[in-house]
């Protein structure tokens, strides 16, 4: 496991020093959400009703912008070859890189979401739930995203392809993320939707790296 944590630490260090990916994702999130009220007009009830949906969609699109860097930089400079010669299975290499992506992109996005909720007149009671759901849902974003990133690592300007591969996988996360937040405002509470969202994330954490590693093996050929 030393190798695993060495890889995670290295990716965190690179993310902090290079900074570009986090900045792009957070900046995009901020811009999209702050443009929404301008486009929709000052109807506070309308904004409050659709706030959860806007936040989740903007979060997914922002995360999408940073996904291609998960493996691309390592592929370009030959690091991926050397990572593959380690005793760490490729599945765990993919898991380490997806974990680092979640720590450096998923968590910052999740923590920014409630701040942006203010712009959308999000119901006060929904804030804790919003943070909980975004924290619980973003692992799925990183670990499913790793599959798309691995599949498109050799594609020059594969951004659109990556979006087409990954966005369908994000649909369940989106649906249950939004319904968990919306449900707190209704009578049924957040329970079921939140649990399903967590289950999706847990499944993604297990299955994502396996699929990503299979894709990487093909890319190494």
């Amino acid at each position: 496991m030393t190798s695993f944590w060495a890889l995670v630490r290295r990716d965190l260090r690179l993310a902090v020093r290079e900074g570009g990916a986090i900045g792009t994702a957070l900046g995009f999130f901020l811009v999209v959400v702050s443009l929404m009220p301008l486009g929709l007009g000052p109807d506070l009830n309308l904004l409050a009703r659709i706030a959860a949906g806007i936040l989740w969609i903007a979060l997914l699109l922002a995360a999408l912008l940073s996904l291609n860097r998960i493996f691309e930089a390592d592929y370009e400079d030959g690091t991926l070859d050397v990572l593959a010669t380690g005793s760490l299975p490729l599945e765990l290499v993919a898991a380490a890189k997806a974990l680092a992506h979640w720590l450096t992109t998923g968590i910052p996005l999740a923590l920014l979401a409630p701040v942006l909720g203010i712009l959308l007149n999000l119901d006060l009671g929904a804030y804790p739930v919003l943070v909980a759901t975004t924290l619980a849902g973003t692992p799925a974003v990183s670990f499913l995203g790793a599959i798309g990133a691995a599949l498109t690592v050799k594609a020059r300007r594969g951004g659109l392809l990556l979006a087409l591969v990954v966005l369908p996988l994000y649909v369940p996360t989106l649906i249950f993320g939004i319904s968990a937040v919306s449900a707190t405002m209704g009578p049924s509470g957040m329970g079921a939707a939140f649990l399903i969202l967590t289950a999706i994330s847990l499944a993604a954490v297990v299955l994502g790296p396996i699929a990503a590693a299979a894709a990487l093996r093909i890319q190494l050929q």
């Binding site: 030393t2 190798s3 060495a6 890889l7 290295r10 260090r13 690179l14 020093r17 290079e18 370009e76 400079d77 030959g78 690091t79 070859d81 050397v82 990572l83 593959a84 010669t85 380690g86 005793s87 760490l88 190494l220 050929q221």
Partner: protein
């Protein structure tokens, strides 16, 4: 320990690049791969490394650790150097030592590897400012950071000056003297000891 390749057939992009190649490399021996550009030296090295699956034939490492694949017992130095520009020379080396070795390496070991390739004055230098030859040497320093039985070197002397080439040759000779195996693809004559040359013939396009 012996690396044995039998009846290797390797296909790339619908074209047979290596057709029915058999060879073996014994403990303490260096195999030099030569051949024209495009003859399939890199392809062969990547197949031995386990990255490319051959169309038929096998590559085996007899007497190695049976629980590990060849990939896990090999150092692969390819055309790219696997260096992160935003980390220092030492941080790059320390990462590979820990990742490939499975445990944090001592500062002394890392500095010894850097010293061997003449990088001792650049330890705290950001890798972004290294020249092509210095980057190459940092890539090669990986060989000494974690012990691996099989070294697969693809054009290792590219951008190296004469002195650095000699340091590389010394490292390879040390490695084979202590029972290691090395396969080196190169166009430059190198003073490698206990070396045999395998010339790979270019395959014609299939009619």
């Amino acid at each position: 320990m012996q690396l044995i390749a039998e009846d290797l057939v390797i296909e790339r992009g619908g074209r047979i690049v290596i057709d029915g190649l058999s060879f073996s490399v014994s403990e303490g021996e260096t195999l030099i791969l030569s051949g024209a550009n495009g003859a399939g030296k890199t392809t062969l090295l990547r197949t031995i490394a386990g990255f490319i699956r051959p169309a038929s034939g096998t590559v085996q490492l007899d007497g190695g650790d049976g629980e590990l694949t060849i990939t896990e017992q090999a150092h692969v130095v390819g055309h790219a150097n696997a260096i992160k520009s935003s980390m220092t020379v030492f941080e790059n080396a320390a990462f590979w030592a820990e990742y490939l070795g499975g445990q944090a390496a001592s500062t002394e070991r890392i500095e010894r590897a850097l010293h061997h390739f003449g990088l001792e004055d650049l330890v705290e230098f950001p890798a972004a400012y290294l020249s092509a030859g210095q980057r190459r040497r940092l890539g090669l320093a990986r060989l000494l950071l974690a012990p691996r039985a099989l070294w697969l070197l693809d054009e290792p002397t590219v951008s190296l000056d004469v002195a650095s080439s000699d340091r590389l040759v010394a490292a390879v000779n040390d490695h084979t003297r202590t029972g290691g195996l090395a396969i080196v693809a190169t166009h430059v004559p190198l003073a490698l000891e206990r070396a045999r040359t395998l010339t790979i013939a270019s395959q014609r396009m299939a009619a």
